[in-house]
């Protein structure tokens, strides 16, 4: 590689960092540096591993939510599903280590079933996914609390909890490698692989323009249903990790659907579908947790966390929305000659191509829900 191309790739990397697609990495970097300044021991490998262990369930849920959001839908049932799985693990495994494997299998099946129901009702019965998963959220949480009588039961056997809290000890440099970090790495790798396969491409196509995708021969119902199944499975895995990390309680997992959506949106994924990158979604989860850690170290009262989180997500999305607009000028509409408005070729060299690609009015920034 000669010097010029290195310079080029560096500048390209720099450009990516300020674009919405990459801005989350910049944000994450800033937050991590900031935390390290406040608390230098954070940068020690062991501490970083602990941090990753804490983020893992959120990141996994965000990866699952990414698939649903990029296909143009919502999954609000994730939080309830996490709670349900946590309670199922606590009740069915009990103190009997030998039940771990069969119950784990049952939990995965249960998760897949919930995803299948969400997906089929959304695609075949044509109920908006917002409503389907909202109903599922109420029904799951109510059902699980009804089953347990509303009281938390004991934690499951320690062997099962090791998945969330244990790891490989005495690893060189990092000292302790949590299972959850490994699991996150595996799931992220699988998610990247999924996104690069035809499945991932059709998912984005469906989210961008369902009609075009259908004409191109995509089985829309199956692609969307698979996305819901993936998201429910990821909620299941997060539940398994949280049983180990946080224990069994009906409030574990509460609000996870909104945290996941926030993380995904922080990662520059557009609500309404069709645009996004799974790695950025996972990075969004890391940025969100880093933000919480930072607020913790900075001594901000925990009650103000919500307010700051709210401000940050508005700013992040406003940033990406306005940048997209500046770059595309909402492409098709404003550059069309019929508009009577002078197109601005200097600002917008890509718009003619976009104009060909997207019919007018198919995609808007707000209308995608």
């Amino acid at each position: 590689m000669n010097e010029r191309s290195i310079g080029q790739s560096l500048s390209r990397a720099g450009l990516t960092l300020v674009r919405p697609r990459g801005a989350v990495f910049l944000l994450l970097l800033v937050l991590l540096v900031w935390i390290t300044v406040l608390n230098p021991s954070f940068a020690e490998p062991g501490q970083l591993m602990r941090f990753i262990q804490r983020v893992a369930p959120v990141a996994i849920v965000a990866i699952g939510q990414y698939f649903v959001i990029v296909s143009g839908e919502f999954d609000l049932s994730m939080g309830s599903l996490v709670t349900a799985q946590v309670v199922i693990a606590g009740n069915l495994i009990g103190q009997d280590d030998s039940r771990s494997i069969p119950v784990l299998g049952f939990m995965l099946l249960f998760g897949a079933l919930i995803g299948l129901i969400n997906g089929l009702v959304t695609t075949l019965l044509r109920v908006p996914s917002f409503i389907v998963t909202l109903g599922m959220m109420l029904a799951l949480l109510g059902g699980i609390l009804f089953w347990t009588g509303g009281a938390a039961t004991g934690n499951p056997a320690d062997g099962f909890r090791q998945i969330g809290r244990g790891g490989i000890r005495d690893v060189p440099i990092i000292d302790f490698l949590p299972w959850s970090a490994l699991l996150l790495a595996v799931i992220l790798a699988a998610a990247i692989w999924f996104s690069r396969r035809p499945f991932g491409k059709s998912l984005i196509a469906v989210g961008d323009n369902v009609t075009m995708a259908r004409y191109a021969g995509v089985r829309v119902w199956w692609v969307k249903t698979s996305a819901f199944i993936l998201s429910s499975l990821s909620a299941t895995v997060a539940g398994v990790l949280l049983v180990g990390y946080a224990g069994v309680h009906p409030s574990v997992g509460r609000g996870y659907e909104f945290i996941a959506i926030t993380a995904v949106v922080l990662g520059g994924v557009v609500l309404g579908g069709g645009r996004g990158w799974v790695v950025a979604a996972a990075a969004g989860a890391f940025a969100l947790e880093a933000l919480f850690t930072l607020l913790n170290f900075a001594g901000v009262p925990s009650t103000m966390r919500d307010a700051i989180q709210g401000g940050i997500i508005i700013l992040a999305v406003a940033y990406s929305a306005t940048t997209f607009r500046a770059r595309r000028r909402r492409g098709p509409l404003e550059t069309s000659p019929a508009m009577g408005k002078r197109p601005d070729p200097t600002l917008d060299p890509v718009s003619p191509a976009l104009q060909d690609r997207e019919p007018a009015g198919q995609r808007t920034d707000n209308g995608g829900i």
């Binding site: 143009g72 609000l76 009702v121 019965l125 044509r126 109920v127 908006p128 917002f130 409503i131 389907v132 909202l134 109903g135 599922m136 959220m137 109420l138 029904a139 799951l140 109510g142 059902g143 609390l145 009804f146 369902v210 009609t211 259908r214 959506i261 926030t262 949106v265 557009v270 609500l271 309404g272 009262p301 009650t303 103000m304 966390r305 919500d306 307010a307 700051i308 989180q309 709210g310 401000g311 940050i312 997500i313 508005i314 999305v317 406003a318 929305a321 306005t322 607009r325 509409l333 508009m339 019919p359 007018a360 009015g361 198919q362 808007t364 920034d365 707000n366 209308g367 995608g368 829900i369």
Partner: protein, 342 residues
């Protein structure tokens, strides 16, 4: 003309659903030896309707504009606190407290609207963010209930004309006003236009931000009225009263149950009131039959999905006929229409 017939049809379907729910409910209630149509029971149902009704009327406007408002539960809580703290149990403060509450809520709605329409942030995220900001403020400033409401103001929530509570009368009155607003005013019409297709509305020369901002302001003011009503019922302001009620998601569910499209552009206030009534009847029947409170949520979840499933099938059928007749929908139809055209 077609639009008007369509809107009427939607509302009629919701009305039939409501009548169906009432008949089933009445039969179920009579099996445990109680009278569904007794004065007390009707008052219970109507009382249950009013708070969610206020929130859902505002939510309808926002959803018509293809946005969402997830900040309503926190606006409700904040309003109850502002009202109760300003009144301090004194009658002469009532008017000022109500005005102040509505002004604060309008400012929040304005912020929502500007973030959605001006900064182009998706309504889901914008209002979630604003909601979180208010939630953080509430959690930091208040440890529990605060303020107190004078007796005269408590009467609003407690008294009624025969079996009809005053609060429900106010709610229905506002529904009439908002329905007139949608049908008679320019901004009302523009809400349908912008929600249906912002691109076409802009090409037609509308200021597309204006209806969105107005809808958000009205939605927050409606949520504030719900908060005032709750303050009047509780006698104090509470920082958690809104989030406990789950008004964000329930109001969206009621709006969609009432036949308003989540994608915006189609819907009606009366459908929403029907949706709210269905919820209220359902809750009442389950309470009378002493269903386990956790099981109630299961039933509620299933009913929401099932009702919307039955409903969307019909609504889409109607829309299809309309668009093929017009033969003009090919350029600018929103994604759902295209999906149907398969």
């Amino acid at each position: 003309m077609t639009t008007r017939r369509l809107r009427l049809d939607n509302t009629v379907i919701v009305l039939f659903a409501l009548i169906g729910v009432i008949i089933i409910g009445a039969v179920l209630v009579s099996t445990v030896g109680r009278n569904f149509f007794s004065d007390g029971n009707i008052r219970d149902i109507l009382t249950g309707m009013s708070v969610l009704g206020f929130v859902a009327i505002g939510q309808t406007l926002v959803i018509l504009c293809a946005s969402l408002d997830l900040s309503v539960p926190y606006v409700v809580s904040l309003s109850s606190l502002i009202a109760a703290e300003t009144m301090q149990g004194r009658q002469e403060n009532i008017l000022w407290a109500v005005i102040l509450t509505l002004l604060v809520a309008a400012a929040i709605g304005l912020a929502n609207g500007v973030i959605v329409a001006g900064l182009k942030v998706n309504g889901f995220i914008a209002t979630l963010g604003v909601g979180l900001i208010i939630k953080g403020y509430l959690a930091t400033e208040y440890k529990g209930t605060a303020g107190s409401v004078p007796w005269e103001f408590q009467l609003v929530g407690a008294s009624g004309l025969g079996p009809v509570p005053i609060s429900t009368i106010i709610m229905v009155g506002l529904a009439v006003l908002v329905a007139l607003f949608l049908r008679k005013t320019r901004t009302g019409h523009h809400m349908f236009a912008v929600g249906g297709n912002p691109a076409v509305s802009r090409l037609s020369g509308l200021r597309t931000w204006q209806p969105v901002v107005v809808a958000h302001v009205m939605c927050s003011v409606m949520a504030a009225l719900a908060g005032l009503l709750l303050a009047s019922r509780l006698g104090v302001g509470s920082p958690t009263v809104g989030s406990q009620g789950g008004y964000d998601l329930l109001s969206i569910a009621a709006v969609v149950l009432g036949g308003t499209l989540l994608l915006g552009g189609r819907g009606s206030i009366w459908g929403t009131i029907g949706g709210v009534a269905i919820f209220a009847v359902l809750d009442n029947v389950m309470s009378v039959m002493q269903v386990n409170p956790f099981l109630k949520d299961v039933v509620r979840g299933i009913v929401i999905v099932a009702a919307v499933a039955i409903y969307t099938g019909r609504a889409i059928e109607r829309r299809r006929a309309r668009f093929s007749k017009d033969a003009s929908g090919s350029a600018g139809t929103p994604p759902v229409d295209a999906e149907v055209a398969r």
